[in-house]
């Protein structure tokens, strides 16, 4: 099914087209949600709400940019809104609270790399994790992040700095970043 046919079908509320779109993008989008959520169940709830909004607002998609990017933005907004609604995010924005989090060696997951990295991201405090997800992975600017999360831009920057530092520490302890650092250094040196 081509993208145009699929989009036309979704606009007409055709179940087969909606199923096709959902099947194509839901695995990756669930991965996005999983990075924001506390657990898989919460991630699936975010995914469900997000796709309902995707299908509801399908008429607003103007073919400007990739469909996946448009869907992803909606999913991310949905995740943020759910976090804000459940007040889980605002509880954990406090830097002082976040600074007291310590990473235990035995809690670091030991699975394949992509999932391992995501699990390490999920281990961060909610505020750090959210800012890091939005800035480093989703590509939002600190200004946009501050508007979305209702925080100051400077707070967003400082949160991200601390989040990245903490994530690096986790990845190093897990010997993932160490390997990648070596690898990247090799690539850089090769260039």
């Amino acid at each position: 099914m081509t993208d145009e046919f699929m989009l036309d079908g979704c606009l007409k509320n055709d179940a087969a087209s909606q199923d096709a779109l959902y099947s194509r993008f839901s695995p990756r989008m669930l991965g996005v949600c999983y990075r924001f959520a506390k657990n898989r169940e919460d991630a699936e709830d975010m995914l469900q709400d997000g796709f309902i909004k995707v299908f509801s607002q399908m008429h607003q998609y103007r073919n400007e940019g990739a469909l996946e990017g448009w869907i992803r933005r909606i999913i991310v907004h949905t995740c943020i809104n759910i976090l804000k609604k459940n007040k889980k995010f605002t509880d954990c924005v406090d830097i002082l609270q976040a600074s007291g989090v310590s990473i235990k060696e035995e809690s670091i997951p030991s699975v394949i790399q992509a999932k391992e990295v995501v699990e390490c991201i999920r281990m961060l405090p909610l505020g750090y994790k959210t800012v890091l997800n939005l800035y480093a992975i989703e590509g939002y600017s600190h200004r946009e992040i501050s508007n979305m999360l209702d925080i100051e831009e400077s707070t967003s920057r400082s949160q991200y700095t601390r989040a990245k530092a903490m994530l690096e520490e986790i990845l190093i302890k897990k010997n993932i970043i160490q390997k990648q650092k070596t690898k990247i250094a090799q690539i850089v040196s090769a260039k």
């Binding site: 990075r35 991630a43 309902i52 607003q60 943020i80 990295v117 992975i137 508007n147 209702d150 990245k164």
Partner: protein, 524 residues
């Protein structure tokens, strides 16, 4: 530089790893999304209730019929004797309450006479003309009695005429042992009150005399013991009597019940075939109505007293009067419904029914080519926290290239329950005032919500409140037509008690409608 490059590399690394990460959701997620856009029948219970209620009402209405007894020809044999027979075999019902005696030819006059037993156990005897009463009376055998069944509405003059026509000759009186007049209504009530006169008395028949004579009562026992032959004649119509003479010969052919069994049969037949009035008949009425109306709305900020995190947001919410910053105009709505009315006291009626409503009002806005980011102020009901929900929308409240009119509309199903009180009335024209309470279900609609900064509109149908309650007040003039219909017309005011939107949204919206109600009703 290296540090910067390492940082960028780090971000690329986690970005790449995250993009490669996939998870496969459970089937439940897709089913929930699917059901959201392809809902199954959500209201089978309501539609089934309506079907069941309608079926029950129909069954009750069809079964509350008059309990009629089918009268078959009596098995009593006709006597061959001249004497008056007390059988009914020659009578057959015309309808449920009537008999018609088959015509028999009068051999002397070659004319036919008929006897009819109609309505309320009356027996109408229609003798031929020109027959003298004397001659006819002589045909009566001794011990024959004349039982005159009289319509209760007849006057004494009618009694007099009938009695006189029978007893104008002394010979007639000699042949009669008794002449009894039975009020036809008495037959209906399962008791027989017999007012008898004695023809053997030399009575000058005057109007007053008749009355006195008629007061003399024969008991059932006396009538029964007096013999089996009693004739029942109806004197229901004075003008009818003027045209006819009582034909005694024909009288002898009238089979009537004289013994206890037959009389009881007649009485029971009349009693059980009396039309039983339905208790609610003449009271219960159906009504159909429709009300075109003008819809207004009022917006109100419901974040007062809640915990607003941002000072800027608080300032926006508390200082801005929403109704002054939105461009809204009323629009037309419609209500249409059917129901039942039942009077409980004199001048007070209760009613219940079902009604479809359509509400709409207009919002002046602008459409933009590209959507812009905005937010909605939401309430967290559990925590009392106010927060903003990010949205994007192409509709602006302030400025834009394409002026547009947005329609906030709802489709509703309500169950109005109300009462009406009669204020005044002359003849067929009456003046009523009424009130209704209407539990309402909103089953469809569209909703455009004003954004936090009041600069945009966001379409969000999920915020529609699916249950609501309306209160209505009305006054109307009703006038009855000859056809039995009653028309009502008058103004109606209807107010929505709960907000159109869910409590999650920070702005409450109330609908008010002013309309003209036109209705028609008819008693069942």
């Amino acid at each position: 530089m290296e540090n910067h490059q390492n940082m960028e590399s780090f971000e690329k690394f986690i970005q790449q790893q995250s993009d490669e990460f996939k998870m496969y959701p459970s089937k439940k997620v897709w089913y929930s999304i699917y059901n959201n856009f392809h809902p199954s029948r959500k209201w089978p219970s309501i539609s089934m209730c309506i079907v069941l209620l309608s079926a029950l009402l129909m069954i009750g209405y069809l079964n509350t019929k008059t309990n009629k007894v089918t009268i078959e020809n009596s098995s009593i044999a006709k006597s061959d004797n001249k004497p008056l027979i007390n059988h009914l075999e020659n009578f057959k019902p015309i309808n449920t309450l009537s008999y018609q005696y088959t015509e028999k030819t009068d051999q002397q006059n070659n004319t036919a006479s008929t006897a009819k037993f109609v309505d309320k156990s009356n027996i109408i005897f229609s003798p031929k003309k020109n027959s003298t009463v004397v001659k006819e009376a002589n045909s009566l055998l001794p011990n024959e009695k004349l039982l005159i069944v009289n319509n209760i509405k007849n006057t004494v003059a009618t009694h007099k005429k009938s009695v006189k026509s029978i007893t104008s000759s002394t010979n007639i009186t000699a042949n009669y042992e008794a002449i009894a007049v039975v009020e036809s209504e008495a037959l209906v009530s399962n008791t027989v009150e017999i007012k008898a006169i004695s023809p053997t008395q030399n009575i000058e028949l005057t109007e007053n005399t008749n009355t006195a004579i008629l007061q003399k009562i024969y008991t059932d026992q006396q009538i029964n013991n007096a013999g089996p032959n009693v004739i029942a004649i109806n004197i229901a119509d004075e003008s009818f009597l003027n045209e006819h003479l009582i034909n005694a010969a024909t009288l002898s052919q009238i089979p009537i019940a004289t013994n206890v069994t037959d009389k009881q049969w007649i009485e029971n037949y009349a009693f059980y075939n009396r039309q039983t009035p339905k208790k609610w008949k003449g009271k219960l009425a159906w009504q159909a109505h429709f009300t075109p109306s003008v819809i207004y709305r009022n917006l109100h900020n419901n974040t007062i007293g809640k915990n607003i995190g941002s000072n800027a947001l608080a300032t926006t919410l508390n200082n801005t009067s929403i109704n002054s910053v939105v461009n809204q105009t009323p629009s037309l709505g419609l209500e249409a419904g059917i129901g039942l009315q039942f009077p409980i006291f004199n001048g007070i009626k209760v009613s219940a029914g079902i009604q479809l409503n359509y509400t709409r009002y207009n919002i002046g806005a602008f459409g933009n080519a590209h959507p812009s980011a905005t937010s909605l102020v939401m309430n967290n009901e559990s925590t009392g926290q106010v927060y903003e929900l990010s949205k994007s929308t192409p509709y602006s409240n302030i400025i834009g290239l394409n002026p547009q009119t947005l329609h906030n509309q709802t489709y509703q199903l309500s169950l109005p329950i109300g009462t009406s009180i009669k204020l005044a009335g002359i003849d067929n024209v009456e003046w009523y005032a009424g009130a209704t309470i209407q539990p309402t279900i909103v089953f469809a609609g569209s909703s455009y919500l004003i954004s936090t900064d009041r600069r945009n509109y966001v379409k969000e149908n999920s915020m529609l409140n699916h249950f609501n309650m309306n209160a209505g007040f009305e006054t109307y003039i009703s006038f009855k037509t000859v056809a039995g219909l009653t028309w009502q017309i008058g103004p109606q005011f209807r107010k929505q008690l709960f907000s159109t939107n869910s409590k999650q949204f920070s702005i409450e919206e109330r609908i008010i409608s002013y309309g003209l109600k036109i209705g028609v009703s008819k008693k069942l």
